[in-house]
């Protein structure tokens, strides 16, 4: 790229580097801050003295967590729902995407099903009817409420369907000539050809399951069944709603919280995300572009 090196241009470049550097710091600081609070001395952290570096050094919060069975329980529930939920959704997605990727002359009802799907994606009955329905199925307080709640992400079905449609037709034709039925075409040809996209979708769904707290809050009646995010939400964020709270009471509430312990829990909840992040990064850019650009 040709650039005119002028004084103005130089100033802009330096300013640009600084601005982007500040943005970078703003995105990394919160994680660093949480980490610092979690390993600081309790008294310093509770008084809000931690800003840039940990004050003192103490692993007592982490020791406390090790003996906290509720925390591990919630962690385990989150892992279960993520694994089960992602596998379930992924299976549903490929099974739906394949027939819908057939041209209309091969599958007559394709467009009807497509409209049903799009309608379900764009319209919903709202929170209360949804909650009462799940209650009617007797799923409340079971892990299946969390697993099935994510269920069939219609948007991802459409995404994979579009990907399948753009695979060369010859793949399908060649397999059919060799005597393969729809099931073997899907599982032996289409899926092996789509591994990177399916990986991207799987990662996104698992991030959803890991981060989801609301279903855990609403569909679980006992705290022993909470997934990790709901457990943290109840512990750290929750403020009694509906009461006539005064600013003084609010201040009291902030005093009561055990900041180092909470920060340690939040930090541990972030760790799995930080571990999958490099893999995520590899795939999500292509994943997004797939949804944005077609044909």
């Amino acid at each position: 790229m040709v650039r005119n090196i002028t004084l103005g241009s130089r100033t802009f470049e330096i300013a640009n580097i600084i601005v982007l550097g500040l943005l970078l710091v703003s995105c990394i600081y919160p994680l660093w801050y949480t980490f610092c609070v979690s390993i600081s001395e309790k008294s310093a952290a509770n008084a809000g003295l931690v800003t840039i570096f940990p004050i003192g050094f103490s692993l007592s919060s982490y020791k406390e967590i090790i003996s906290d069975s509720l925390f591990f329980n919630a962690f385990w529930i989150s892992i279960q729902r993520t694994v089960l939920g992602t596998s379930f959704s992924l299976l549903m997605i490929v099974l739906m995407a394949y027939p819908l990727a057939r041209p209309k002359k091969d599958f007559k009802m394709r467009n009807t099903f497509m409209w049903i799907l799009v309608f379900c994606m764009l319209f919903n009955g709202g929170l209360i009817p949804w909650y009462l329905t799940i209650q009617n199925y007797h799923l409340i307080d079971t892990i299946w409420a969390l697993v099935l709640g994510g269920g069939v992400p219609v948007f991802d079905v459409i995404l994979i369907m579009n990907f399948f449609r753009n695979l060369p037709k010859e793949l399908n034709e060649a397999a059919v000539v060799d005597g393969a039925g729809p099931w073997s075409v899907l599982f032996r040809v289409y899926i092996p050809c789509s591994i990177p996209v399916l990986a991207a979708v799987a990662l996104f769904i698992s991030v959803y399951h890991w981060n989801e707290f609301f279903n855990g809050l609403v569909l679980m009646n006992t705290s022993a069944n909470y997934p990790l995010q709901t457990y943290i939400q109840q512990l750290v964020v929750n403020i009694p709603v509906g009461t006539n709270l005064t600013p003084e009471q609010y201040k009291k509430l902030s005093e009561l919280s055990n900041r180092t312990l909470n920060a340690a829990k939040v930090f541990i909840a972030m760790v799995p995300m930080l571990i999958v992040y490099p893999f995520l990064q590899k795939y999500f850019v292509s994943g997004i572009m797939l949804g944005a650009v077609k044909e």
Binding site: M1, V2, N4, S9, F12, N16, L20, G21, L23, L24, S26, P30, Y33, T34, G48, L91, M92, I93, M96, P99, D106, F107, K108, F113, L117, V118, L122, N124, G125, G126, L127, I128, P129, W130, L132, T133, G149, V152, I158, N162, G181, P182, F213, F214, Q229, T230, I232, V236, V237, I239, L245, P247, R259, A263, M270, M273, Q281, F284, M289, K294
Partner: protein, 296 residues
């Protein structure tokens, strides 16, 4: 003949997903009738009394409904506008960087907040803006008294919009960055030879190349006008900021699942669903007409 045989398998493949959609998406839609009933959980959908539009009339008489609709609109529109604009500026700035390594580093880090949940992010936001938070510690060093930022209705909306933009700007910029890589570098060279300075290059080459993307994203976000972000607001708000921070979704949640006013909450939810559906429908039509965008 062979094709007909395949159709059977296609139906079979669709079956589990369709069963799920019926059970978890279509059956709940039938619950919408609650909005027109005085729903009694004991009697169920079939035996509860019909009240016509009474629930809607009652809802709009409540002062709360006006407050939450206004709050929802302000927060959602603020987010939509800034989430279009900030990532655009960010992408352009990033594109102007010379050092590719620095560019990669910035990108890697700013995408991260998008993947952390609002539960986690709220603990961090409260850690920073809370009474014992970093901001108060810092202003304390300059001799000011600590403030209850999280309980200040005057700044709650700004806080919600600001933290959302901060969490999402990096990730939202991906789509602009992709559009930027599509620009023919010859355009820059030709313009530079004609004597264009950096600002003119941005103004006449970069921005026009991004305009379609901006318009498309803007149109598609029309459906979010009533989505102010439940997860975020629910985890940040408290009764002290209801006047500016309570939104439709949090209101529906409290009405329905905490106060057990099922019919009223369903009516409020339906109000939101219908308006959003119409807006999304319009936005898809517009996107198809002006940008050739189709969902499928």
């Amino acid at each position: 003949m062979r094709k007909i045989g395949h159709q059977k398998h296609y139906y079979l493949m669709l079956l589990p997903g369709m069963v799920w959609l019926v059970m978890f998406s279509i059956v709940p839609m039938s619950g919408i009738v609650m909005a027109f009933q005085n729903f009694n959980p004991g009697a169920g959908l079939f035996k509860s009394d019909w009240v016509g539009l009474e629930n809607f009339k009652y809802m709009f008489q409540l002062n709360d409904s006006k407050t939450v609709i206004i709050n929802t609109l302000i927060i959602a529109v603020g987010k939509i506008a800034l989430n279009l604009l900030v990532p655009l500026v960010f992408a352009i700035l990033l594109n102007e960087l010379r050092s590719l390594r620095y560019k990669k580093l910035v990108q890697t880090v700013v995408y991260l907040p998008h993947f952390l949940s609002w539960v986690i992010m709220s603990t961090i936001v409260i850690g920073i803006f809370g009474y014992y938070g970093v901001v108060n510690t810092v202003i304390g060093m300059f001799g000011f008294d600590p403030k209850l930022f999280m309980a200040d209705a005057g700044i709650f909306r700004q806080l919600v919009i600001g933290t959302d933009v901060w969490k999402e700007f990096g990730f939202s910029a991906i789509i602009y960055l992709a559009a930027l890589t599509g620009i023919n570098l010859n355009l820059y060279e030709a313009a530079a030879i004609d004597g264009a300075n950096r600002w003119q290059l941005i103004r006449h080459v970069t921005l026009p190349a991004l305009s379609t993307t901006v318009v498309l994203l803007g149109v598609l976000s029309l459906g979010n006008v009533l989505n102010a972000g439940f997860d975020q607001v629910y985890n940040l708000y408290n009764p002290l900021v209801y006047s500016t921070g309570d939104i439709l979704d949090t209101w529906v949640y409290r009405l329905g699942l905490q106060n057990l006013q099922y019919s009223l909450a369903t009516a409020a939810g339906l109000f939101k669903s219908v308006i959003s559906f119409v807006l999304i429908f319009i936005s898809y039509r517009l996107a198809y007409r002006y940008a050739d965008y189709t969902v499928f």
